[in-house]
């Protein structure tokens, strides 16, 4: 994706344009107005007297609105600086644009202002894969509006464009004959409204008396920021990263159609603004000490969509938590299985983990009781549907949808992410190690919920018995003797997929690792093969498929490292956890507070700068959540009964850290930490690990 693209969004409605505010998309080009995974505008080009405009500057006002300052003329020398043009755009059920032209001259001007508009109504999947359309298009002018339509059988999508100033409408856009007096201005509102998903909305959303489109969110950004805990630190970089994370998390909120304004974290902006089981759960976990209501909505929505039948096309089973939901044409015609698609092996155990962790923070026992059936069904899925090699007692995955389903149903989901030391790739099914950790954790946490809230001590005993058995077998079957770490997976013959990976850190987080070997595992995670100095590599240096810029085979994923830091804390390695936090937060500073999804696994001392992995999505939800989880691990925040325990360990360079008004069952409490040294003038020293 080009760097100078401007993105604004409201939930899953977003506009991607160039720095002039123009949209000129081809089928494979990711610009336009999108909503519910369909493109509603692929052309939106402003000209004045037939000339395109030049961008002077762009103001990102909020994540849902922006302002473009433009002038006519070409190149860097403005041939006519007597006019300037302002486009102010806000998303909210389509978008609203206020177009203003200012005449700075002493003479009046007469101008022809033109907005070209068109839509290809592409499905997001079509944009990504450049597929052809199967329906028919229409364009007509009716009652002062230009109506662009697309129809395939009963599937209809429509874009309606109108203006407040007098305009001549044709099938390809709007023309304004404009006269502006000396030192005066001319303004028109342009409304782009969309319809189709459930027949909703043919106009942007306004409140009474408002002229601006209103975003969907229940809380303004201002309130969102005000309600979050306040951070104080001698590190300005940390403060900036924290603020960036909160703002991005606000933008990543997604309100699914049935939730009436309540929101959960979507996976990434803009292409992944939808429910993802894994991403929504992990981000909710990261954000628990800051915005616990995201977890509550995630649990409710994923519970409402929990699988209920065996459906091979969707890889659905009873009790399974969804992987991804989509609303576009290909999903509607079942050319893609995302209605929703269930091919995720980790979201189901993680669902139970989140429910328990949420209760430990919030004390919201009502939700735990409300979701008892869902949690039980999730626990049952682990044993009844995910043990694909009958009686093995492990959680496996293998897609049943061979055509459009996902091969790797764990977080490392690219084709070559699971490999032996020598680079070979195992067959299916696969039992990756972290899945067993999640299952173990889910059983123990499920047992706590059964005992305390579901009044079922027998079930609790049974779950604990199963967990103890799983732990015993796991520590035997997955332990790689000659490397002293846990294998990445078991293959279908029960043999170890023996490469060294960051997954070991997730095992610490789950608590499945025997105390006696935890120290060795921690050493690996901070050792030269896995720790780059910035974070933990997905695959260790020296393994057959290691590549410092390979998606899941050598890059560092900030979210991954944040959970590893949590795992280290769980086993008491707080200095080690602090080192990882320090590395990731230093990287965050170099990315202006916004961590990418992944960056290169190069040794920190070699590149001095984390090399960003080029992906289309930014911000990414769980990268946004990483600094939040690292604040938790640095402060050592842990609910204990009705209290919040604080047990800090700060990385070098942070002298002072305070998180004020941390919400939870205790009301609101403050957490303080002091580091070993204070950097000069509150600046962090660069520390090479």
């Amino acid at each position: 994706m080009k760097d100078d693209l401007v993105k604004i969004l409201d939930g899953n409605t977003f506009v991607v344009s160039d720095s002039r505010g123009d949209i000129e998309a081809s089928l494979s080009d990711p610009t336009g107005l999108f909503s519910f995974d369909s493109r509603f505008l692929s052309t939106w080009v402003l000209t004045v007297d037939g000339e395109r405009l030049n961008p002077l500057s762009v103001d990102d006002l909020q994540y849902f609105e922006t302002r473009f300052f433009l002038a006519p003329g070409t190149g860097t020398v403005y041939v006519d600086a007597k006019l300037s043009v302002i486009r102010e755009r806000a998303v909210g059920g389509g978008f609203h644009e206020e177009l203003t032209i200012l005449n700075h001259d002493e003479k009046p001007v007469e101008l022809t202002v033109r907005v070209d508009a068109a839509s290809d109504f592409a499905d997001l999947f079509e944009v990504k894969d450049a597929l052809e359309k199967k329906g028919s298009y229409s364009a007509r002018v009716e009652k002062g509006r230009l109506l662009l339509g697309y129809r395939r059988e009963t599937f209809e999508r429509q874009t309606a464009i109108s203006a407040s100033a007098p305009a001549k409408l044709d099938k390809k856009g709007l023309t304004f004959a404009v006269r502006i007096d000396p030192h005066s201005q001319w303004t028109t509102d342009l409304d782009v409204a969309i319809a189709g998903v459930g027949g909703h909305n043919l106009r942007p959303k306004y409140e009474r008396g408002e002229r601006r489109a209103r975003p969907n969110m229940e809380r303004s950004l201002e309130r969102w920021l005000r309600d979050a805990p306040r951070l104080e630190s001698d590190s300005d970089a940390l403060k900036a990263t924290y603020r960036r994370s909160l703002v991005d998390l606000a933008a990543l909120r997604f309100s699914p159609p049935v939730m009436e304004g309540r929101s959960l974290p979507a996976a990434g902006l803009p292409w992944f603004m939808t429910m993802f089981g894994r991403d929504s759960i992990l981000t909710s976990l990261q954000a628990l000490p800051f915005t616990p209501e995201l977890a509550a909505t995630t649990l409710r929505v994923l519970g409402a969509w929990q699988g209920s039948r065996v459906d091979d096309f969707r890889d659905e089973d009873p009790g399974r938590i969804l992987h991804e939901m989509r609303y576009g044409e290909l999903t509607a015609f079942e050319e893609r299985p995302h209605s929703p698609y269930y091919g995720s092996a980790d979201a189901t155990p993680l669902y139970v983990v989140l429910l328990d962790e949420y209760e430990r923070w919030s004390g919201d026992r009502r939700l735990v009781r409300e979701l008892e059936a869902e949690a039980r069904a999730a626990l049952r899925w682990i044993d009844e549907y995910a043990d694909l090699i009958g009686g093995s007692g492990y959680l496996w995955y293998q897609r049943r949808n061979e055509e459009t389903g996902l091969e790797n149903q764990c977080w490392k989901d690219s084709w070559d992410s699971i490999s032996y030391r020598d680079g070979r790739i195992p067959g299916f099914p696969r039992a990756t190690c972290e899945l067993q950790g999640y299952a173990y954790d889910a059983k123990l946490r499920g047992a706590r919920l059964a005992r305390l809230f579901w009044k079922d001590p027998a079930f609790a005993d049974e779950l604990e018995r199963q967990a103890a058995d799983l732990r015993r077998r796991f520590n035997r079957d997955f332990w790689v003797e000659d490397g002293e770490y846990f294998a990445l997976a078991l293959d279908s013959e029960g043999k170890q997929v023996d490469s060294l990976t960051s997954n070991n850190g997730h095992l610490l987080w789950s608590g499945i690792v025997d105390k006696s070997t935890a120290k060795t595992v921690a050493k690996h995670l901070l050792g030269p093969r896995l720790f780059s100095g910035w974070g933990v590599r997905t695959l260790a240096e020296g393994e057959g498929r290691y590549n410092p810029i390979g998606y899941h085979v050598g890059t560092v994923w900030p979210f991954d490292t944040s959970f590893i830091a949590w795992g280290l804390r769980r086993y008491g390695y707080k200095e080690e956890a602090a080192r990882l936090a320090g590395g990731i937060l230093d990287a965050a500073e170099l990315f202006d507070g916004r961590l990418p999804e992944a960056f290169g696994g190069f040794e920190r001392g070699v590149t001095k700068y984390p090399v960003e992995y080029p992906t289309a999505c930014s911000p990414q939800a769980w990268s946004t959540g990483a600094p939040l989880l690292l604040l938790r691990t640095m402060l050592g925040l842990e609910p204990l009964g009705e209290h919040l325990v604080v047990d800090p360990a700060l990385p070098e360079g942070i002298g002072l850290l305070a998180l004020l008004d941390v919400p939870g069952r205790w009301g609101k409490v403050d957490a303080f930490a002091r580091g070993r040294e204070l950097g000069a003038h509150g600046r962090r020293r660069a520390v090479v690990a």
């Binding site: 009963t154 459906d311 009873p318 576009g328 999903t331 509607a332 079942e334 209605s339 069904a377």
Partner: protein
């Protein structure tokens, strides 16, 4: 091929109580078009207790579809969400009611 729609609703009525709907209360009306005729099914759910009738009453959620489409959904051959996205099924009112209800189309009626 019998009338899957009648079988489906009669089956619901016969059950009387569906544990999977114990968190649900509200009314759903299904307006199923067959040529010029529209058959209505009104389903009242009260914390899992179910009553079915043909009354043409106001409902919290109204579902409109061709009968042929609904037949396929009721038999579990057509995914309800995909049909909704395609516009083959239209809903009006409280969409949240349809979500737990669509689970019943798989034939899984005993709940958890």
């Amino acid at each position: 091929m019998g009338d899957a729609t009648a079988t489906f609703f009669d089956g619901l009525e016969a059950l009387g109580h569906v544990p999977a709907l114990e968190k649900v209360s509200g009314t759903l009306r299904f307006d199923l078009k067959n040529g010029k005729r529209t058959t209505r099914w009104l389903v009242t759910i009260d914390k899992g207790d179910i009553a079915v009738s043909h009354r043409n009453a106001k409902a919290d959620c109204v579902v409109r579809a061709e009968k042929t489409v609904f037949e396929r959904i009721a038999r579990g051959e057509q995914n309800a969400m995909a049909a909704l996205l395609r516009g083959a099924v239209e809903i009006e009112g409280d969409e949240a009611l349809l979500l737990p209800f669509q689970r019943l189309f798989s034939g899984e009626r005993t709940g958890t």
